[in-house]
Symmetry: D3
Subunit: 238 residues, 6 copies
């Protein structure tokens, strides 16, 4: 029995709100249950130094949590003077995931910076970030097309992410915080609409996991990501 | 004529939403027109080192802007490894303003940490922060009373803040970004419900201002703050 | 009765020593009683990046306290690896105050960097810094004129600063440390020779202050600043 | 055809040298072909603050690369003033991997700090680090047993790690630098001697990978890790 | 011929002003010609962690240069966020030099912190710092004796420092900036009143130096330091 | 009697291994007894900003210790976010020592970066670093000659370094850690093959030292350095 009474293969209620704030070229509030992340996409007409003059673009990401997005207050990273290892790990993951579906040459010499800021946390902030950031990125790119700066979209296909894990011996989809903090194995899966993997990160928090358990988890994740991609499509169709 | 077509003494539309997020003891989204700030109040059952064993509490504040709360993306302070001078100036102002209406001995040896995070900026983020933070602080303290940890409120009176300034030669109330970035004089005023000043910070961005102009600005501010305090009272009465 | 036995509207003994050190284009030791600040003005033939090619100059300021300028030793900011919020607040104030009386286009594409370093502190270091820095700045600019790099002075008028406050219920001018650390309200006022305000920063350290008290304080400040400007003029006439 | 002419399922030549340096309680030089990592284990008779008084121990890890361990010189992280996101990601992975096979209560209130420093890099430094660090950790724990500080080993089973990937369309084991920098998919797998997974981190550098490809990669990794664990056992038997 | 027309073995004019500022337990302005350093000694009734409970005291030093103490403005270390290697080297040297003449057990469990801040630089700031700091330290210790906190002085003998070097082929004493920036060899010598060496730091800036040249330089330094110690004695006798 | 039973003028066993790692243009493992330092020389075809366009090259050095190169684990400087004063002092010394024997104009506009990383420490790491770095630098420069980028070597002569000190009243050569941590005077001497001094850094850790003692120490150092230079020559002849 899951704390939330969800079925093992049941996602939390997912909401995707576009144009959540007005300044960014893409601005999406994504909610996975009580987890709420604001994902913005900012277009910059330049590229990082290592890409100067190479005729291609870049997509990068930064991640942060508001200090009281969590149950007990976290110290503010700006006040501490550095980002934690966890923060850096997550923002690198978001950036790689989005780059995997963008044709950088077709994007042209410009950069899209994704900011994922967690307003409220209840587990799964990195998977919500990737899923929401894809929608914000799409909005920003559609804006470039509308403005005549791009003639076609450099986005090849959708990408979304979900967590799966083994909680009290059972494989479950989309762990919330009570599950996440008490599970044996936690796996984050990033997939494309063509059903291929971009990232698989499985970690045994308690006991190591078997190949069979891994297969069960991947099956759950595949199903969850298909549903998320359908929701992205619906949100973008509005 | 103001860019927003407001009258000189007209506030923007103000909205105060309590319990905006669920983890913090006080959580308020305050909107001054397009400026949106999330103010949370976190109760910690300890005090900073300099107050250990002195039988009194403390209220402090931190402030941040989401990178794309602004028209062009700001660099993330956590990634830069330090808070700007402007950020520190604002968070010190918020802390002082709130402490001015709290009886620290009556609060007991505990600390309330205020976080003001700007979701969307359109001028006046520091005055919106103070005004919203007061409501979050009140909710946190009422929670302590409800939990039997305090028998009476250590809050002596309300405090709120507004900006006034001289824009194209005219004194105006509650400057939005187009006014703020183009005004001659900008003044932030923090007042209590008893009509006294906690902070007055006037800065000539262009020409210096006369004593007479200052009086006109203070008159405008007094009126605006009375209205804000009425809105705080209504929000807290819900 | 003030601890120093001064009358409420009496400045401390003020001394302005020009050419205090020999390397800087302007170098002034200013003393407000026991408060001693070395203000230097350094001319740099370039401007910060945001002004490149805009045909105008810049004036900026940095502030520091020697570790044992104070009664008990302060930690050295260079050793701590960052400047405090208070330091940043003060140096931003000094910079803004000086810029308010300089015609940046007439200055040309060069920068004048003001350094205010507190040799000994007894309250009022920021107001002494502004008052002394104006003299150092004037010397630096006169040097540019003498060298034929400027044909006329870009300085429009004098600027000086003083603190006023409510100490034991009475409005007093130019607070020293014993007053400053025990006053109810502290206000720093920056004015020009034409009698207009550049900055007014009033803070209630204890009880909030009334409009009437504010007026009394501003009256005191006006008188004090007129006297300081006279002293600047005398010093510059030597 | 692999650049090194190895068969797809062939490990590089692996060497494990114990007692490589003399100060550390465990000191192992591990070589995966031209990749050489010095892994030391240091016993400290205290635990991090969050474990004080909880009757259990801790294992943590730090990772670094000598500036010229790589083909072109990397900037020294100590001189830059921070560890990169990659470094933090790797040291967190090493720490989690080792903790997964240690009974923290049986270790007692002490900490073992693992340092993995790359002397020469040719791909696979994180998997070599985990594999070598396990041997250093075992030596350190055996030292505690020999000294009578522990009566039995808190190590439950072996742990080792290997990379697998898809290089020019073929699944290969133990990627060296030329393969790693040019592969489509890179996966790091950490497994125990009982054949269970501790970590699986697969990343599509180029095209996303299919479920079938993933299965092929995991098969390769299982075989490689069994061989590595046999080599750990041989090295520890000397 | 030296730029200053001094004889090869001639010190610059040296002035030692005690009680230069009023807060510190020892406060000395030392001038070696145009080099002016403010040296303060602060008594703290605690010791650094590594000496807690060992029944002995400590003397340590920090060093800084005001940004415009030099011919062209140096960046402020507090603003840069770190002390340069040169700064750290000098403050370590000052601390070691002073500790060499203090009996730490006789000092008792307290720390004396020396701050040497360069007001104006013209070469030789580190040797002026050591020579002046000794006087400040003595004043601080005499204050402890006067207050009955120490019954006898833990200072065993005087210590002072001077630079010597080879400038245009000739050995010279007490290099000023024009000599220092153009010399072949620069040597800083720290000696006690008993004529023994505490530190000798010789550096060939240009050509390496011979044993014979070294002996000539040490002869010059011995003479210079004897004179400086006489001046310390005179200053302390006032 | 020395702890190692060496004669007072006896070096530890010295080994110089060239081409120790494969990426660097020069890579030398130098061993002074149990002290082992990896010295690499990296050629970079650019110069630091202050030398741009001046037609000359540069040699600089960085130094580090592996965390468990020492008897008890040192904190990793990269994790602490800064290099210690000791580290900076040593790397500046290594850089100056090597630059003293290189003709910078003859090197051309390129930089050679030396990295000295201590694998195992037993005293004398800075002198071993200098001695080994010279060999690595020579290899890197010979590589430039072999590649036709230089027609002749810009190295004027050899440079090597050794420590001498007064241990239990006797002058000894090449102090190991037990001697170094318990000696009265410690002196590091850097000399060239022509018998001239590049650096002499003598420090009284306990009692100050006399001119006579200094002479004895310099005699010992001269002999030791001659032997080290012979070993450098032999190593380079292989």
């Amino acid at each position: 029995m899951r704390p939330s009474s969800r079925r093992p293969d049941e996602l939390r209620s997912v909401r995707i709100t576009r144009q959540y704030t007005r300044h960014a070229e893409g601005s999406v509030l994504i909610e996975f249950g009580d987890t709420k992340v604001l994902c913005t996409a900012s277009v910059e007409e330049n590229v990082p130094p290592f890409l100067k003059g190479k005729g291609q673009g870049w997509v990068t990401a930064e991640y942060g949590m508001l200090p009281r997005s969590t149950n007990s207050r976290m110290r503010r990273e700006a006040a501490q003077g550095k980002q934690s290892g966890r923060t850096q790990e997550i923002q690198r993951l978001i950036g790689r995931s989005l780059r995997s579906v963008v044709d950088m040459a077709a994007l042209g010499e410009r950069q899209i910076v994704i900011d994922c800021d967690v307003i409220q946390a209840d587990g799964g902030t990195r998977t919500a970030s990737i899923t929401g950031a894809f929608v914000a990125l799409t909005d920003a790119i559609n804006g470039l097309i509308a403005a005549g700066k791009l003639s076609a979209s450099p986005i090849r296909e959708h990408v979304a992410a979900i967590s799966v894990g083994i909680y009290k011996g059972a494989a479950v989809l989309d762990l919330d915080y009570p599950e996440d903090s008490d599970c044996e194995t936690d796996m984050n899966v990033v997939m494309t609409s063509s059903g291929k993997f971009v990232e698989v990160q499985g970690t045994a928090e308690g006991d190591a996991f078997s190949r069979e358990e891994m297969n069960t988890l991947l099956n759950l994740a595949e199903k969850g990501i298909q549903d998320l991609i359908t929701m992205q499509e619906k949100a973008l169709a509005l």
